[in-house]
Symmetry: C2
Subunit: 217 residues, 2 copies
DNA sequence: TAGAGTCCCTAACACCGTTAGATACGGCGG
DNA sequence: CCGCCGTATCTAACGGTGTTAGGGACTCTA
């Protein structure tokens, strides 16, 4: 297969699932491509640029399936689905959120997604300014949640992950922090999906409430 | 000054502001302490443990000033202030959000903060379960926003930061993405505070809306 | 056929986190 | 006073990292 920057990024993304972000070295990627490490520098400027390209691939993976809302479907559902797709794209790669976080992706597919977000919200009665300031909130929540989620389930801990619900629950002093102890199952015992959905609902409800407050003046 | 793990973490945190996370090496930290790198390993297990200790310091910095809400003050304001303090603690160190993200901090001060969050929300009429599932949403939004914010203003780019509003605005094709182009000042021209406050308001409004929906049944 | 451009190589550099093993220094029991 | 033990530091080094320099081979084109 012909080597170019996108092929390198795809290979790196595949290897990422095996070795994790810390184990992803230029030499390993090169080996997988049947080539020596310095060769990669013919195609990419440096490792950071490679990481950016990987982030772009993940982002595009989430954005390319995005379609305008069908007639009659609620903007709340459409927006929540977009957040779910983004989260799934990150979850589908080990350390995916860490790769994505803080990488401003510049790709046509992403511009399309932004435009679609703005149009959908504006068509639903938001002002353009509300839409432009509001939908990043969904984005930031989604990224923040997924980073935390992936960090806690990280395979990097091997067999002694300190984030098991039991371990964490054992740490809080039930005398001094009674509510924390009482709520530990809600705080820690939730699987990622449930926790994400709860917060996502809050953000979407918040967007609706902000719009209504403006409409009422 | 006597060296111990906390002194090392404090030193590392101070150096972080000068050199950034990627420039923070064990040898540099040791030099600043008037010591050689291997000496650090007498006091800490490895670099990851040091990073965890640094994250703990930042987190505690935000949490230790936290006080119960004064009588009569609204839970919305109290919760928003807590988020602002956390954000300020991250912003007060270069790459602070990256250091914090994904590090589950286990420290008494943080337990206290969690307990205080739960109590405040429950006293305001939330169920304990609502509080336990709801306040992480604020946390995740805050972390997500601040990571993105710090990445875009990162000094790592030197003089050619690609995230200036002008550069980004120039990238979008106004013909194909008219709303994006039109909203570019709202999307990009905002300073971090304004954008953060807008999203924070949305999350808080969302919590209130979720509570009201339950109360109405 | 000469030259230019493309793509890959070997060799090496500077630096990284980390370990092994020796060395100094203090207090304490005999 | 001596010898010992725990504490805290050192030097030397290992295997690894991202990255650069410079040299070949191959292909296309004039």
């Amino acid at each position: 297969m012909k080597i170019n920057s996108e092929v390198i990024a795809r290979t790196a993304l595949r290897l990422l699932d095996d070795v994790g972000l810390d184990g992803l070295t230029m030499r390993l990627i090169a080996q997988d491509l049947g080539v020596r490490a310095p060769t990669l520098y013919w195609h990419i400027k440096n490792k950071q640029e490679l990481l950016d390209a990987m982030a772009t691939l993940v982002y595009v993976e989430a954005a390319e399936r995005l379609e305008p809302p069908r007639d009659g479907s609620a903007w709340e559902d459409w927006l929540a689905d977009w957040a779910r797709q983004l989260r799934q794209a990150m979850l589908s790669h080990r350390d995916g959120a860490r790769v994505l976080a803080g990488t401003y992706v510049n790709h046509e597919t992403v511009h399309r997604a932004v435009e679609l977000n703005l149009r959908t919200l504006r068509d639903a009665g938001f002002t353009l300014s509300e839409a432009a300031r509001g939908f990043p909130a969904v984005l930031h929540y989604t990224i923040g949640h997924t980073i935390e989620e992936q960090a806690h389930t990280s395979a990097a801990y091997g067999d002694d992950n300190p984030y098991t619900p039991e371990r964490l629950a054992a740490m809080v002093d039930a005398e001094r922090f009674p509510l924390t102890a009482q709520a530990s199952s809600d705080l820690l015992g939730m699987d990622g999906d449930t926790g994400f959905e709860y917060g996502l609902r809050i953000v979407v409800l918040g967007l609706r409430a902000a719009k209504q407050e403006r409409e009422r003046g």
